[in-house]
C-alpha cells in the first residue's frame, strides 16, 4: 500500500503540502497529519456528522472523503471559525444557550451551521431542524442547539429567527 501522492491543501488559511497514501481519509489527514484534532470522528460511515468540515465553503463529511480529493481545495475546520481567543457568534450562541454537553459532536454542528446561519436571516424552526438533521447529538436532545441557532442568527443578522 504505498500509492503515495503529494497534495497541497489550504486549511484555515494555511497551505500545507504533504505526501499521503491514496487511501488516507480526509478526517485522518486533518486530525493526525495536521494535528487539528477539533474535527471529531464519530462513525466513519457518514451518518453522525461529527467530522463535518467546510470544503470550499460547503459542509462535507471528512470521513467520506480521501485526503487526495482535497488537493488544491480550501478547508475550514472548527479551529478556523474565529481567531485564537475569540469566538464566532455561532460559538458564542452555543455557549449562551447551553447547546453542548460532552461537546464531541459540537464541531460538526458548528461547521454544518456556519453557512446556514450566515445565509438564513429568518429561518423557520422546521428549516433549522432540517439544517441539523444530518448531525447526531446524543446529549442535548437538540432543543438547546435549536435555541442557539436562533440566537446566532440574531447576533449575525440582528433579526429574530
Amino acid at each position: 500500500m504505498t500509492d503515495l501522492h503529494t497534495i497541497r491543501v489550504t486549511v484555515n488559511g494555511t497551505t500545507y503540502e504533504r505526501t499521503v497514501e491514496a487511501r488516507m481519509l480526509l478526517s485522518d489527514f486533518i486530525r493526525h497529519e495536521l494535528g487539528l484534532t477539533g474535527t471529531h470522528v464519530g462513525c466513519e460511515h457518514g451518518v453522525c456528522g461529527a467530522c463535518t468540515v467546510l470544503f470550499d465553503g460547503q459542509p462535507v463529511r471528512s470521513c467520506l472523503m480521501f485526503a487526495v480529493q482535497a488537493d488544491g481545495h480550501e478547508i475550514m475546520t472548527v479551529e478556523g471559525l474565529a481567531p485564537e481567543g475569540e469566538m464566532h457568534p455561532l460559538q458564542e450562541a452555543f455557549h449562551e444557550a447551553h447547546a453542548l454537553q460532552c461537546g464531541f459532536c459540537t464541531p460538526g454542528f458548528l461547521m454544518t451551521l456556519k453557512p446556514f446561519v450566515e445565509t438564513h436571516p429568518n429561518p423557520t424552526e422546521e428549516e433549522i431542524r432540517k439544517a441539523i438533521s444530518g448531525n447526531l447529538c446524543r446529549c442535548t436532545g437538540y432543543q438547546h442547539i435549536i435555541e442557539a441557532v436562533k440566537l446566532a442568527i440574531k447576533k449575525i443578522h440582528h433579526t429574530d429567527a
Binding site: M1, E21, R23, M24, R31, H32, G35, L36, T37, G38, T39, H40, V41, G42, C43, E44, H45, V47, C48, A50, T77, V78, E79, L81, A82, M87, Q91, F94, H95, E96, H98, L100, Q101, C102, G103, F104, C105, T106, P107, L110, I128, R129, K130, I132, S133, G134, N135, L136, C137, R138, C139, T140, G141, Y142, Q143, H144, I145, I146
Partner: protein
C-alpha cells in the same frame, strides 16, 4: 438554599475549549513513536476456535506484533467481578467474566480474538485480513427463555446451565393479598433497551516510560481511579507508578464504566512490553458489538387490586439477558426489580429474577440501567387496571402514591447498593398535578381528543410516573485549595463525560468561598490529582462528589476565616468573606490570594497541629442512595396508514431535590428524553437466530435526529433530600426512564378504535402494523 452561585443558570466553564476544538479527547493524544492497535474480533456468536494462523500478518511490513490468548501467558486472566451479588437469601449467582482475548471458544460476535500492533492503524487493519482463524461454529444461545430449556446449547459448558443468577425478593405476602383482590391482571411484557451509542467511541492510549518507571494511560473511562488501581495490580506496579487520565469524554451513559474492558487490560500491557506509546481507538462498528449494551427482559407480571383501584400487591417473574458474561453482577436486573415498585405504596411484592447467559455482547448499565424495564411493567399494569376498573389513569396513580408523610418509605427489599430500598423523601402529587396542567390533561381528553377524533385523526395521550434511585455510595472525595493567585483549584476522582462538572462543582465551591465560578478550576478524572473515588455512574456525581466538594469547600472557608482572624486579631464571627476578600467590620480587608501566601510561608513556622495552605480534602459516603421522581406526559398523533408516530407535545415534571444549575438539569432531561424516545420507536438492536447483530451501523440502528425529537417542556418540583447537606438528588438518567411507558400508552390511546394492547417496547412502524393486524385478525375470529 439557592444562593448567589448555587441554583443559578450559570454558563459553563468547559464550553470555550470544547467550542473551539481545543479540548483533549483520548484520540487527540499524539506521542512520538506511538504505535497503533487493531483487534480481530469474532464473526461468530458461538464457535470453537480450532486454530489461529497469524504468520502472514507477521510478515506484513509495518506490523510490530501479533498476539493471541496463548501469547499473553499468565497475564491472561478473566476480568474481575465488579459488583458482587447482593446479600439476598437463597440467591443463585454464577460468575463468568470476560477474558482479554478469546481462548478455545468465542461467545459473542465482537469478542476480541487477536491483537495486532503496527506502525499505523491502516497497517494494523490490513493485517487483520492476513489472519486465519479456523472456527467450528456452534449453535447460538439467543432467546432467554429457550436458553433455560434442558437441551439448550451452553454459553459456559462448565456451568451446565445458562442460568447466571436467580434472585427472589419479597415484601409482605403476595398470595394472601391476591386472595382478597377484586381484580387481578396478568400479562407478559417484553422490553428491549438499546445501545448508549455515545458519539465518541471508546479509546485508550498507554505510555510506559521505562526510565521514569511510570505508566500513563488516557482512557475513555467513567472510573479512572478504579482503572488505575486495577492496572497497577495486574501489571505488578505500585499504584503510584500508574496515572490514569480520563480526559474530555464524548458521552458515556454507562457503558464506559465496564472496567475492565479487554482493551483496557491489553493496551497498557503492550506499551510496557514494547516500551512504546500504544493507541487503540474503537471504531463505530466495534462499538456496536464490543462495547457493553443493554438488552431485553421478559416479564410475567400480575397486579392485584381492590375495585377502588388500590394496589394490594404485585407479582413478577422475569428473565434478563446478560449477554455472554456477567462482570457487572446483577446491577441492571436489580434495578428493574426495585424500580418496578415506583412511587406507589405497594404492601405486597413477590419478584423472581432470572438472569440468563446468551451469545451476545455483554450487558452492563446504560442510562436507566434496568429501571425503565421495571417502570414499563408497572405503568402498563396500572394502565390495564385503570381500563378494567373504569378509573382515570391519572386517578389510579394518584390513589396509590406514597403519601408525603410516609417518608422515609421502606420497600423492604435490597437495592443495587446492597442497602434496603428506602426512599428518603418525595412529594408525588404536585408533580402529577403540574404535569397534568402543562399537558392540559382535562382539556385534551374532554375537548381536544374528541374533536380531533371526529376529524379522523388518531391522537392520544400518555402520562406516567416513576422514581429513580440515585446518588448511591460508597463514597467520593474532593480536595479544594485556594492558590496563591486567589484562584481555587478543586480535584475529585469522578470522571466527566458532558455532565457540566466544571461548572456545577465550581458553583458549589463558589457558594462557600464567594469566588467567581470562572476562577475555580475543576479537575476530574486524573488520578495524579486525586486518587480516591469510584466513578461517575448511577446519577451520583451531583450527590456524592457534590457533597464531598461542598464539605471540602466549607472546611477551606473555615481555614480562610481562621487565618484572617489571626492576621487581624479579630474573632472569626466578626469577619465576612465576600468577593475574594475577607473583610473586618472596621473596614480592613485581605484577599484570598494574600491569605493563601501567608498560609504557606517561606520563613518562620507553621503552628503545631495545623497544616500549611488553604486546602482541605473531604469525603462523602452516603449510607444509601436518594430517590428522585417525576412524571412524563406526551401527546402523539399516529398515521394509521404509514404507522408513523409524531410526538406533538412532551412534558417532563421532575424532582431532583435541590438544583445546582437549572440550565444543566434541563439539558440532562432533554438528552435523556431524546434517548428515551429513541428507545420507544427508533432504536432497536436486532439479533438473528445465529446471534448476529443485524443493526450494527447508524444506517440500521436509528439515533433520533432533530426531526424526531419534539420541544420538551420541563417543570420542576423541589423536595430536598434530607440525607445530604446540599439536598441534592441525581438527575442524569431520569429523562430516559419512563419515556417508553408514556409513549406506548399514548400510542394505544391514539389507536383506541382498534382495540389494541401494547405490551412491548420499542415499537417501530413495522411492529405497530403487525400489532394492528394481529388485533384485527383476533377480532375477525
Amino acid at each position: 438554599m439557592a444562593g448567589r452561585y448555587f441554583g443559578q443558570p450559570i454558563r459553563r466553564n468547559e464550553d470555550p475549549v470544547l467550542l473551539t476544538g481545543q479540548a483533549l479527547f483520548t484520540d487527540d493524544v499524539q506521542l512520538p513513536g506511538m504505535v497503533h492497535v487493531a483487534f480481530l474480533r469474532s464473526d461468530y456468536a458461538h464457535a470453537r476456535i480450532r486454530s489461529i494462523d497469524v504468520s502472514r500478518a507477521l510478515d506484513r511490513p509495518g506490523v510490530i506484533g501479533v498476539y493471541t490468548a496463548e501469547d499473553l501467558g499468565d497475564y491472561w486472566q478473566p476480568g474481575p467481578l465488579l459488583v458482587p451479588p447482593p446479600p439476598v437469601e437463597g440467591i443463585i449467582f454464577h460468575q463468568r467474566t470476560q477474558v482479554p482475548l478469546a481462548k478455545g471458544k468465542v461467545r459473542h460476535v465482537g469478542e476480541p480474538v487477536v491483537m495486532v500492533v503496527a506502525e499505523s492503524r491502516y497497517i494494523a487493519e490490513d493485517a487483520l485480513d492476513d489472519i486465519f482463524v479456523d472456527y467450528e461454529p456452534l449453535e447460538a444461545v439467543v432467546d432467554v427463555e429457550k436458553a433455560l430449556e434442558p437441551d439448550a446449547p451452553l454459553v459456559h459448558e462448565d456451568l451446565g446451565t445458562n442460568l447466571a443468577a436467580r434472585v427472589v425478593q419479597r415484601k409482605g405476602d403476595y398470595e394472601a393479598a391476591r386472595a382478597k383482590a377484586d381484580v387481578i391482571i396478568q400479562r407478559r411484557f417484553y422490553y428491549d433497551h438499546g445501545l448508549a451509542a455515545a458519539m465518541e467511541n471508546r479509546g485508550i492510549v498507554a505510555h510506559w516510560d521505562k526510565k521514569m518507571q511510570y505508566l500513563t494511560v488516557w482512557d475513555t473511562t467513567q472510573a479512572p481511579v478504579v482503572i488505575r488501581n486495577g492496572l497497577a495490580k495486574m501489571l505488578g506496579l505500585s499504584e503510584s507508578q500508574v496515572r490514569v487520565i480520563a480526559p474530555f469524554i464524548g458521552g458515556a451513559f454507562g457503558p464506559k464504566i465496564m472496567m475492565f474492558y479487554p482493551e483496557e487490560v491489553l493496551i497498557p500491557w503492550l506499551s510496557m512490553k514494547l516500551n512504546r506509546p500504544v493507541k487503540w481507538i474503537e471504531d463505530r462498528r466495534e462499538n456496536f458489538v464490543a462495547t457493553t449494551q443493554e438488552r431485553y427482559q421478559v416479564h410475567y407480571a400480575e397486579i392485584a387490586l381492590t375495585k377502588e383501584g388500590r394496589i394490594l400487591g404485585v407479582k413478577d417473574r422475569f428473565y434478563h439477558d446478560t449477554g455472554a458474561y456477567d462482570p457487572y453482577g446483577l446491577t441492571v436486573p436489580i434495578n428493574s426489580q426495585c424500580t418496578l415498585l415506583g412511587p406507589y405504596d405497594i404492601p405486597n411484592y413477590h419478584s423472581e429474577m432470572n438472569v440468563v447467559f446468551t451469545n451476545k455482547t455483554i450487558v452492563t448499565p446504560y442510562r436507566g440501567a434496568g429501571r425503565q424495564h421495571g417502570v414499563f411493567v408497572m405503568e402498563r399494569l396500572l394502565d390495564l387496571a385503570a381500563k378494567e376498573l373504569g378509573i382515570d389513569r391519572t386517578e389510579i396513580r394518584r390513589r396509590n402514591f406514597i403519601p408525603p408523610d410516609k417518608f422515609p418509605y421502606n420497600n423492604e427489599i435490597i437495592y443495587q447498593d446492597f442497602a434496603p430500598l428506602v426512599y428518603d423523601s418525595g412529594n408525588y402529587e404536585p408533580a402529577l398535578d403540574l404535569a397534568m396542567k402543562l399537558i392540559d390533561y382535562e382539556k385534551f381528553i374532554k375537548e381536544e381528543q374528541p374533536r380531533l377524533r371526529a376529524e379522523g385523526k388518531h391522537v392520544g395521550l400518555g402520562i406516567v410516573a416513576y422514581v429513580e434511585g440515585t446518588g448511591i455510595g460508597p463514597y467520593e472525595g474532593a480536595r479544594v485549595q485556594v492558590e496563591s493567585t486567589g484562584k481555587v483549584n478543586v480535584a475529585t476522582g469522578v470522571g466527566t463525560q458532558g455532565q457540566s462538572h466544571f461548572t456545577s462543582f465550581a458553583q458549589i465551591v463558589a457558594e462557600q468561598l464567594d469566588v467567581d465560578v470562572r476562577n475555580i478550576r475543576i479537575v476530574t478524572g486524573d488520578t495524579a490529582e486525586f486518587h480516591w473515588g469510584t466513578g461517575t455512574f448511577a446519577s451520583r456525581g451531583a450527590v456524592v462528589a457534590g457533597n464531598a466538594i461542598h464539605a471540602a469547600a466549607k472546611k477551606v472557608r473555615e481555614k480562610v476565616l481562621q487565618k484572617a482572624s489571626e492576621e487581624f486579631g479579630v474573632p472569626v464571627e466578626e469577619l465576612e468573606l465576600r468577593g475574594g476578600y475577607v473583610h473586618t467590620k472596621d473596614g480592613r480587608s485581605i484577599s484570598l490570594a494574600d491569605l493563601a501566601v501567608k498560609a504557606n510561608p517561606l520563613r518562620g513556622a507553621v503552628k503545631p497541629g495545623t497544616e500549611p495552605g488553604l486546602e482541605a480534602t473531604m469525603y462523602f459516603g452516603p449510607e444509601r442512595g436518594v430517590t428522585a421522581n417525576g412524571v412524563h406526559a406526551m401527546i402523539v398523533e399516529v398515521d394509521p396508514e404509514l404507522m408513523d408516530v409524531k410526538i406533538k407535545k412532551y412534558v417532563v415534571v421532575h424532582d431532583c431535590g435541590k438544583v445546582i444549575n437549572p440550565l444543566v438539569v434541563e439539558g440532562q432531561i432533554h438528552g435523556g428524553v431524546a434517548q428515551g424516545i429513541g428507545n420507544s420507536f427508533y432504536e432497536e438492536i436486532v439479533y438473528n437466530e445465529d446471534g448476529q447483530m443485524l443493526t450494527a451501523s447508524f444506517m440500521d440502528y436509528l439515533i433520533p435526529t432533530a426531526m424526531e425529537i419534539p420541544p420538551i417542556e420541563v417543570g420542576h418540583v423541589e423536595t430536598p433530600s434530607p440525607w445530604n447537606e446540599l439536598g441534592t438528588k441525581g438527575t442524569g438518567e431520569a429523562g430516559a426512564i419512563p419515556t417508553a411507558a408514556a409513549f406506548v400508552q399514548a400510542v394505544e390511546d391514539a389507536l383506541a378504535d382498534y382495540g389494541i394492547e401494547i405490551l412491548e417496547a420499542p415499537l417501530s412502524p413495522n411492529r405497530l402494523f403487525e400489532i394492528l393486524k394481529e388485533a384485527q385478525a383476533k377480532k375477525g375470529t
